[in-house]
C-alpha cells in the first residue's frame, strides 16, 4: 500500500488531488480499461444482442417498381401501392391483390431475378399472402392516422419513413427481443441522438413535430393512444 501511495497518477492528482493517495498508476489503468470495456459492452455489444435480425421472405426492389416514376420519393408514387382505403384507413404493406394487378400471369416477362421467381411460384401461384415484416409497426397501444398526416398535414412519406423509393435491397428486419418492436421505433442509435426526422418514431418525436407545426392540441394523450 505504501508503494502505490508513493506513485500516484499525475492526471488523477491534477484532477482530484484528494484521490491521489488512493489511486495508483496501475489502478488507474485498470479503471480505464474497465470503463472502456463497459462502454463497449453497453454501447456496442448490448444493442447487438438486444435486437434479433431476420431477412424478409424475399428481396423487393423499390427501384425497379418505381422506374417509371418521375420522382421515386414523391407521395403519389408511394400511394400507388401503399394506398388509402375509401374510409381513410391506410393499407400499409400492400397485399397480394395489389401485386396481382401486374404479376397475375406467372409467365409474364416482368423480370428474371430469383426473388421474383420465389414470389411467383411460392406466393402468387399458391395465392398465399407474403409474410412481410413491417419496419414501422407501432405498439398496440398507439393509434396513427396516415390520412391526417399525408392528406391533411401534407407531410411527405420520407419525413417519417426515410427515402427508400430508390432502394434495391430490403434491409434486415431487426426486432427488439424484449418489447417485440422493430428497431425503427426506438432508432438505430442507442445514444438516442437523431440527425434525420426518420431516425426514430418515439412519442417525443411525434410531439416534437406537432409542436413545431403549431398543433399542440394534438399532443393530447388520446390523439395517439388508444
Amino acid at each position: 500500500m505504501k508503494n502505490s501511495a508513493e506513485k500516484p497518477s499525475s492526471i488523477v492528482v491534477a484532477a482530484f488531488p484528494a484521490l491521489g493517495r488512493y489511486v495508483s498508476k496501475g489502478g488507474w489503468l485498470c479503471f480505464l480499461a474497465g470503463f472502456v470495456g463497459a462502454l463497449f459492452l453497453g454501447w456496442y455489444v448490448f444493442p447487438k444482442l438486444l435486437y434479433s435480425s431476420q431477412p424478409q421472405p424475399f428481396n423487393f426492389s423499390h427501384k425497379v417498381h418505381l422506374e417509371e416514376a418521375d420522382d421515386p420519393e414523391d407521395v403519389e408514387s408511394c400511394l400507388n401501392c401503399h394506398a388509402f382505403r375509401d374510409d381513410g384507413t391506410f393499407v400499409g404493406i400492400p397485399r397480394l391483390d395489389k401485386c396481382k394487378e401486374c404479376h397475375e400471369d406467372p409467365e409474364s416477362p416482368l423480370g428474371d431475378s430469383d426473388d421474383e421467381a420465389t414470389f411467383l411460384t411460392n406466393y402468387m401461384a399458391e395465392k398465399k399472402e407474403v409474410p412481410w415484416l413491417s419496419y414501422s409497426r407501432q405498439p398496440d397501444c398507439v393509434y396513427f392516422s396516415h390520412a391526417a398526416h399525408v392528406k391533411m398535414g401534407e407531410i411527405e412519406c420520407k419525413t417519417c419513413h426515410g427515402p427508400h423509393g430508390g432502394s434495391e435491397v430490403l434491409p434486415l428486419y431487426r426486432e427488439n427481443r424484449i418489447s417485440g418492436y422493430p428497431i425503427g421505433i426506438w432508432g438505430e442509435r442507442i445514444s438516442g441522438l437523431k440527425t434525420n426526422t426518420w431516425d426514430r418514431m418515439k412519442m417525443d418525436d411525434c410531439a416534437e413535430c406537432h409542436t413545431e407545426k403549431g398543433h399542440e392540441e394534438n399532443n393530447a394523450c388520446f390523439v395517439c393512444h388508444k
Binding site: 374510409d87 381513410g88 405498439p139 393509434y143 390520412a147 393530447a220 394523450c221 388520446f222 390523439v223 393512444h225
Partner: protein, 264 residues
C-alpha cells in the same frame, strides 16, 4: 403557414332518456364488445367484473299499483372539474402518473393504460364509480371464438391498470380519418356516436357536441327534465339524463325545487 385547425371547440356529451330506457342492458353488451372489455371466468362476481357502461336499477319504494322502476345507464361522466375549484375532474387531479387527462379540445377524459401505474387513486376519487381496476390480465376464452371479435382499434388492458369508458374515442379518430380522406376538417353530427348510443334499441341514448347548438344533445339538455347525477357535487358531468318523473330526478340527488334547471 399555420392552418386553421378544427379543434378546441368541441364538448362531446351524452343525453340518456330514462323514460325510454327499458334496462335491457344492450348498451353494456355493445360497449364491452366494442372496447375489448375482458371477461372473468366467473362473470357473476360483480365485485370484480368490469363494465364501462353499467345499468343501475332504482325504484320509488312504493307498493303496487304505485310501484315504479327506473334504470340508470352509467358510463364515465367525463366531468369537467372536481367541484372544489379545480379545473380538472377529481380523477385527473389525483393521478400521480398523468395517465388520465381532460382533453380541453374534446372534453373527453382519457385513460392511458401503458402509463397507468395502478395506484387506484382515481378509482377512489370518482364519485360515479366509473373506473375499474384490472386485477388480472385480459382474458378471452380460447376456442370459443371470442378472440376473433376483438377490435384492433382499442388496445387490450394489462393486469394492474385502471380502465374506464372513453366515449368510444377510437370512433372519433375513425370519423376524423374519414373526414380527412374526404378533404374535410369537420365531422358531421352522426359520424361520431358511441357504441352504446348506436346499439340502444329504445334510442334512449343521444350523443353529440354539447357546444354545437345544432346538435340534438345541445337542444335536449335545455329541457326542464334534464339533470345530471350527483349534480350538487358540481363536477359538471357531460352525461345528462332526462326524466319527466319527479322522484327519478330526486333520487339522482337533484330535486328540481332545490336546483335551477340545467344551464350547461
Amino acid at each position: 403557414m399555420k392552418k386553421e385547425h378544427d379543434q378546441g371547440k368541441y364538448k362531446y356529451g351524452m343525453v340518456i332518456d330514462l323514460d325510454k330506457c327499458t334496462g335491457c342492458g344492450t348498451c353494456m353488451v355493445a360497449c364491452a364488445a366494442e372496447n375489448n372489455v375482458s371477461v372473468r371466468p366467473d362473470e357473476s362476481d360483480k365485485q370484480r367484473s368490469i363494465s364501462w357502461m353499467q345499468v343501475y336499477k332504482a325504484d320509488n319504494g312504493k307498493e303496487f299499483p304505485e310501484a315504479e322502476t327506473v334504470y340508470f345507464p352509467r358510463p364515465c361522466m367525463h366531468c369537467e372539474q372536481d367541484g372544489r375549484g379545480g379545473h380538472a375532474p377529481s380523477c385527473v387531479s389525483v393521478c400521480v402518473a398523468t395517465a388520465t387527462t381532460l382533453d380541453k379540445n374534446t372534453g373527453i377524459v382519457s385513460q392511458i393504460y401503458t402509463r397507468c401505474i395502478g395506484c387506484r387513486y382515481c378509482q377512489a376519487a370518482c364519485p360515479y364509480k366509473a373506473r375499474y381496476f384490472n386485477w388480472w390480465d385480459a382474458y378471452f376464452p380460447v376456442d370459443k371464438g371470442l378472440e376473433r371479435y376483438l377490435s384492433p382499434e382499442v388496445s387490450p388492458r394489462m393486469r394492474g391498470v385502471i380502465e374506464k369508458c372513453s366515449f368510444c374515442h377510437h370512433r372519433l379518430m375513425r370519423a376524423r380519418t374519414k373526414a380527412y380522406a374526404d378533404g374535410r376538417r369537420k365531422i358531421k353530427e352522426n359520424e361520431y356516436i358511441t357504441a352504446c348510443a348506436e346499439a340502444c334499441p329504445a334510442q334512449a341514448i343521444t350523443f353529440g357536441d354539447l357546444n354545437n347548438p345544432k346538435h340534438k344533445v345541445a337542444q335536449l339538455i335545455k329541457s326542464k327534465n334534464a339533470f345530471r347525477i350527483l349534480e350538487r357535487l358540481n363536477t359538471k358531468p357531460k352525461v345528462y339524463y332526462l326524466s319527466s318523473r319527479d322522484w327519478v330526478r330526486k333520487i339522482a340527488d337533484n330535486p328540481v325545487d332545490e336546483f335551477s334547471p340545467i344551464s350547461g
